[in-house]
Every structure is written in structure tokens, then in C-alpha cells.
């Protein structure tokens, strides 16, 4: 250990630090940076599973997928999903948090908060099972509700026109972790602001408009950015609910990548699609980070 004792303390700290860091560092390279590089590499080949890497075809995989209507349809679907999320479900947790904040009784508030949390842990497979039955053309309650309202019946998940809405709609129950974050923002409003508002004779809607919503703004904005990024990666729910159908009308890029790999058995094209998604996502995330920074100032 003479060697160790002779080292100056700074060096010693760095070496110990490297030992501490080593497992995490290696796992990060192995499980994230290596796959993305390997995927990029594969995207330039007509990848042969038996004799990798197969023929080097430069950008042909990219030109092939760019010529496929389905590829662009997947992007289009994705944009529709983003719009639907913001139109239908994104605001539900905001409303729920405002409601919980107004409820004065402690036990009511706590009980409701506990139950509102549950949607965070219901797996997509279970959601899909339940809602597939709710949407069942002949035995589901979705149709018995619409027909009771005189709107007729629909084949929700088999109809290209409705399928995307039907996939997003289960989110309307809201709740989850996001709602808790909004609630935390509301709880962080100092009492003296309420006191001041009370003295000024603020009524309930004014309170929400001029005090509560401004305090939630930052959190809601960040969640909106998260929601956009998450919509780009949407995979599980449409996959489990419809598998991308009917006629690929609910397919996302994630499902497109999987189908290209699984059905068309083309690793090269699947990797090319992955890489385009990576680039787009990187640009989007970076842009959103910058927007967020300027928003925060």
C-alpha cells in the first residue's frame, strides 16, 4: 500500500471515485450508448441475421422508409395523438388538483387523493382489457351510452376514424402522479397571499384565475413538455389495444419500428426508423428545454 499512501489526496480521491463510478459508467455505455451506435450502424446495412452485417447499402434503408406511406402515416398518427391528448385528457389532472385543493375536510381530501393516485399503477394491459370490452360493438357500455343519448352505435376500435380517440380516452379518468405534482404546487402557495386575497374580497373564480393557476403554470408547462415527448414514444397502449390497426390507422412510430422488425424482418429498416425517431426526439427535447429555460426566466 506504499504506492497508495504516496499519492496526493486529490489523485487518491479521483481513483477511488473512478472505482465507485465504474459499474454505473460501464452499464450506461453498454445499455444506452452502445445500442444507439449499434442501431445506427445497422441502419446502413441490409442486415443479415445469419451472417451479420450483410450488405452495406449506404442510405437505401432511409430512402425506402421515406417512400413508405405507412411511415409518414405513423408520424401523422403521432401528431393526432398529441392533439387528442391536449384536447381530451391533459387538463383533467389540473381540474382534479384544483378540486382537491378546495376540499376542506382533511379525511375527504386524503381519501380522494389516495384513490386519485391509483391510475398511475394500473398497467396498460389491464386498461386495454377493460376498455376493449367497454368499446365492444355489441356488448360494451360505450355503445349503450351513445345509443341512449341518441348518437347511434360505433365499432370504436375497428373504425379508423375513432380508433385514436378511443385509445386516448381511457386517460380521461386523470389522476396519477401528475395530479400530485399539481397539488404540491397549489399547497406551496403561501398563506399570506390567501389572506391578502381575502381582504381584497376575492371570490372563488378570481382566486383560481389570479392566484392558483399562475402558481401552477410552471408545473403544468413542464408537464406539457413531458406529454409531448411521451406522445412521440407512445407504444404500449396502442400496441396492446389495437396492435396499430385497423389498417395501421392507430400505428405510432414505435409500433412501426416493431412491425418493420417483426413482420418485414428488416433489421436495417427498423434501425433506420429508430434513428430518425432518435434525431427528431433529440431536436424536440432540446427545443423544449430551451423553451422551458426561457419560460422559467
Amino acid at each position: 500500500m506504499a504506492f497508495w499512501a504516496e499519492l496526493n489526496p486529490t489523485r487518491r480521491k479521483i481513483i477511488t471515485g473512478l472505482i465507485f463510478l465504474a459499474p454505473g459508467f460501464l452499464f450506461t455505455i453498454w445499455l444506452r450508448y452502445y445500442p444507439i451506435l449499434f442501431g445506427t450502424y445497422m441502419s446502413f446495412f441490409d442486415w443479415d441475421v445469419v451472417n451479420p452485417p450483410g450488405e452495406f447499402i449506404w442510405l437505401d434503408n432511409y430512402t425506402t422508409i421515406f417512400r413508405q406511406g405507412f411511415y409518414w402515416q405513423a408520424w401523422e398518427n403521432m401528431l393526432v395523438y398529441v392533439l387528442l391528448v391536449f384536447g381530451l385528457t391533459f387538463w383533467v389532472p389540473v381540474v382534479q388538483a384544483l378540486l382537491l385543493d378546495m376540499i376542506g375536510r382533511r379525511w375527504v381530501k386524503n381519501t380522494l387523493t389516495t384513490f386519485y393516485l391509483l391510475p398511475a399503477v394500473i398497467p396498460v394491459t389491464a386498461t386495454a382489457m377493460i376498455w376493449r370490452w367497454i368499446y365492444h360493438p355489441s356488448y360494451g357500455i360505450a355503445n349503450s351510452i351513445t345509443s341512449a343519448l341518441g348518437l347511434g352505435t360505433y365499432a370504436w376500435l375497428q373504425d379508423p376514424q375513432f380508433v385514436k380517440m378511443a385509445i386516448i380516452l381511457p386517460g380521461m379518468i386523470g389522476g396519477g402522479l401528475v395530479m400530485l405534482l399539481y397539488l404540491a404546487a397549489l399547497y406551496s402557495i403561501p398563506d399570506d397571499i390567501y389572506d391578502a386575497a381575502l381582504i381584497d374580497g376575492c371570490n372563488s373564480s378570481q382566486l383560481i384565475r389570479y392566484i392558483k393557476l399562475p402558481f401552477m403554470r410552471q408545473v403544468v408547462f413542464v408537464q406539457a413538455l413531458f406529454t409531448i415527448v411521451a406522445s412521440f414514444q407512445l407504444l404500449d397502449l396502442p400496441f396492446v389495444m389495437t396492435g396499430g390497426g385497423p389498417a395501421r390507422s392507430s400505428e405510432t412510430i414505435g409500433i412501426y419500428i416493431y412491425n418493420t422488425y417483426q413482420d418485414e424482418l428488416s433489421l436495417g429498416r427498423a434501425s433506420a426508423a429508430s434513428f430518425t425517431l432518435f434525431i427528431v426526439l433529440a431536436v424536440v427535447i432540446y427545443a423544449l428545454l430551451i423553451i422551458n429555460r426561457s419560460e422559467a426566466e
Binding site: 463510478l21 380522494l112 370490452w133 367497454i134 355489441s138 400530485l180 404540491a184 404546487a185 381575502l198
Partner: protein, 465 residues
Amino acid sequence: MFTIKKLLPSTANTRMHGIIPVYGSYLLGIFFLILIIFPFFYVVSLSLMDTDQIQDTPPSLLPDSPYRVTVMLDYSAVYAEEPENIDLYLQQDSPLVLMSIPYELDETLGYVEAIGLIDDNVVFHASAHARELDFVRNFGAYQNTGISRASLLRTDFRGVEIYEDFNQEINFEVNLDGIEAVNVPTAQEDSPFAGEISAFLNESYQVHGTITGIYTEQDFGLTLNSYNMYNEFLKASYGEESGTSHLVENYGFLQFFVNTVIVVVFAIACQVTITPLTAYPLSRLFPKRLSDILQLFFLGTTFIPFVVIMIPQFRMFRAMGMYNNYAGLLVPHLLPFGFYVVLYKAFFDRIPSELIDAARIDGAGEFLIFTRIMIPLSRPIFVVVAIYTFLSNVVDFFWAWLIVRDVKLWTMNVALYNISRTGHTSAPVDFLMGATVFTIVPVILITLLLSSKIQSVAMNSGLKG
């Protein structure tokens, strides 16, 4: 005014908002509560119905209370005439009674049993839960057959009597010396359906015994028994596929639950060991420039979401033999999550350096400082990471589904998806709904237990997004 004040505490809240908005928020709050609970309520309710009731139009929301039907038969006369054939007749009467009643009677049935007597001595007892009989019709002995006397008693292509198979699939007991453990219903009133049942049993199905009594009673408890039947059905239909280990055959859904627990616990274990180990040198040991670069390196992984790398990572794992085994399920969780690295680092940064310097002067090594000073002082952040890891992994589906084929390795989500895919077995709807209930209930219970912890984590962790 007084009563309203009693109902609602006169908090600052109420004074600010006024009475009507506060009442409104209670009502709307309960509306959302119903909205959140409804899917769960609906699936539990569906799982307790039989397939006929599930397919009601308009759909019914609550399961009917099913009937327990007991048919008493007397064989004294038959036994006196042809004692050598009594065994055969009893074997035949079992499907004639048990299969015909659910088919002919237009009521929700829970349990059907036939009790045979010779001189007030119970010699024959056959019984089955209604779900069992459904499965017999869908997958068992009477798969794809009509229900009539001829088809119930026919032989299959091997020349074996089908009812012999049937009697092995249900509770069936014959003992001419008398069966002890059977509850013989005594002096009950005949059921309202007695006439109908005895008519078709005597005329269309021609049972050998003489019907001496038909008793029915409604028993909601029978629906709860369905869950047991679903588990048995799972064991029977997927058990043999699970490989040589017989895990699914023995434990049913419990095996999937255990797999899920293994994955989630492993993921949490990794994020509370490897990740803080990674973050500590960034906070305390490296010069600032190196730390900043490394922090970017770890945070950069958030730019590489799962969808982007799933195919290369899948190929990689296959090539390394980590396919269709626990390694494939667990190894991806070794990745220190970039976001958590930053979280740990920020927390470590706030611990006063006097403590650490004092320990260094006393001759403590870095590992000792980490385990004895950093970890005990940063317990809150460990809880935060553990909770978040639990929440994000309990719903994880796609990777587990890609990397695993054997039934014995399925996690709950994988199991539910694979069972629900038509084409494998056309599983009956009530079974699928039962499987969904099995998947949700443990997660909900765990979450309710952890609820206050999760709430305090979300409220105080400063993870505003």
C-alpha cells in the same frame, strides 16, 4: 347557516371560496372518484358473471346471484332389476344431469350436483361449479359437441366413452357401500324450476334414476368461487407449456406475480445501490469540470428513450444468450437512470462537507464515508428513488414481452396480454376478466399501502416535473 357550518369546517378555505363552490368541489371530486373506480368495478363485476350474462344486451352492470341446483335421484328400483349395470348407469347419469341443466335452464347457475340413493343410502355423488362445466364444454371432454342425450353418451374417435373423461374432470364419486361426506338436503321445498328440470331430464335425456327431489337456492358466494376456477383453468391450459419446471401448473397466477415482484425489487435494488455509487464521486470526489462532463454523460441517456434502442438492444441480448430467461428481464435495470444520478448528486451536494472532512481526518476511507455518513443522511432521496422506480416498473410491459417466451417467466402484464390474444386459445371472456382482476388487485393493494409515502414523496421531493 348553523348546520352548514357543522357540515363543513369553517376553515379559511371555506370562507375564501364561499359555500357553493366548496360544495361543488365535493360533488365533482366524488364524480371523478367514481370515474376512476368505475373501470375497476366494471371488470370485477364482469369477472363474476357467466359468459351468457356478459353478453347481455343492454349490458348488465352487476352479476346475478347464481343458483345452486341439487337433483336427488333414486336408484333402488334400477338396482333391484339389473344390479350388474348400476355402475354404467351412474356414470352416464352424471353428464346427463350436470351438462343438460346449464344448457336447458335459462337461469344463471353457480353449481350443479346430482345425488343418487339406494334405499336412503347415498351411493352416487357428482358435482361441478358452473365455470367448470363451461370449461368442459369449451376445452374439456365435451369440446365442440352439442348437448343432447346421444352426443353426451357417444364415444370419441378412439372408441372411448366421453363421459368417462368427463367424470374425471369433475367431482365424481360412486360407492355402493355408501358415501359418507355428502350433505343430503332434507325436507326442502321443491324448487320453482323443478317441473321444468324433471321434464327435460325424464323426456329428452332419459336419466336412469327416478327423480325424487330438485332443490335450488341462490348463493352469491358461488360467484367468488369463480376466481379459483380461473386459476385452475390457467394451470390446466398453460401449465404444460411452461417447460419442465411445472411452476405455472402448480402456482397459476401466483407465478406471474412472483416474476413481477422479482423484476420490480431488482430494479429498485439497482437504483438504490449502483446509482448513488455513481453519483457520489460526481458530488464529492471529482474536480468540478470532470463532474459536469460526467453529469452530462449520464443525463444524456434521457435523450435515448427505450423505443429508439429496443431493436438493437433486443438483438444484442439475444446474441449474448439473455433471451427467454431472468437475465433478459433483469439486466436492463442495471442502467443508472440519468435523472436519478442528478437527483442523488444534488442531494449529496447539500450535505455539509465538515462532516466528511472530519471523518477523513479520523482516517475513514471513502467507502466508509459513503456507507456511514452519506447513506444515513440521504435516506429521504433513497425513498424518493425507490418509490419512483416502483411506480415506473410496475406498469412496464414491452421489454418484458419482447424478451420472454416461456410461460413460467411471464410477468403479470405479459401474461395478461398473451392470454388475451385471440388465436392461442379462444379464452372465454369471464376468464380474461378474471385474469385482469388478478393483475390489478395486488398492484392496487400495494399502492394503497404505500399511498401516504408516495404522496409525501411527490409533495416534498421538489420533482416539479
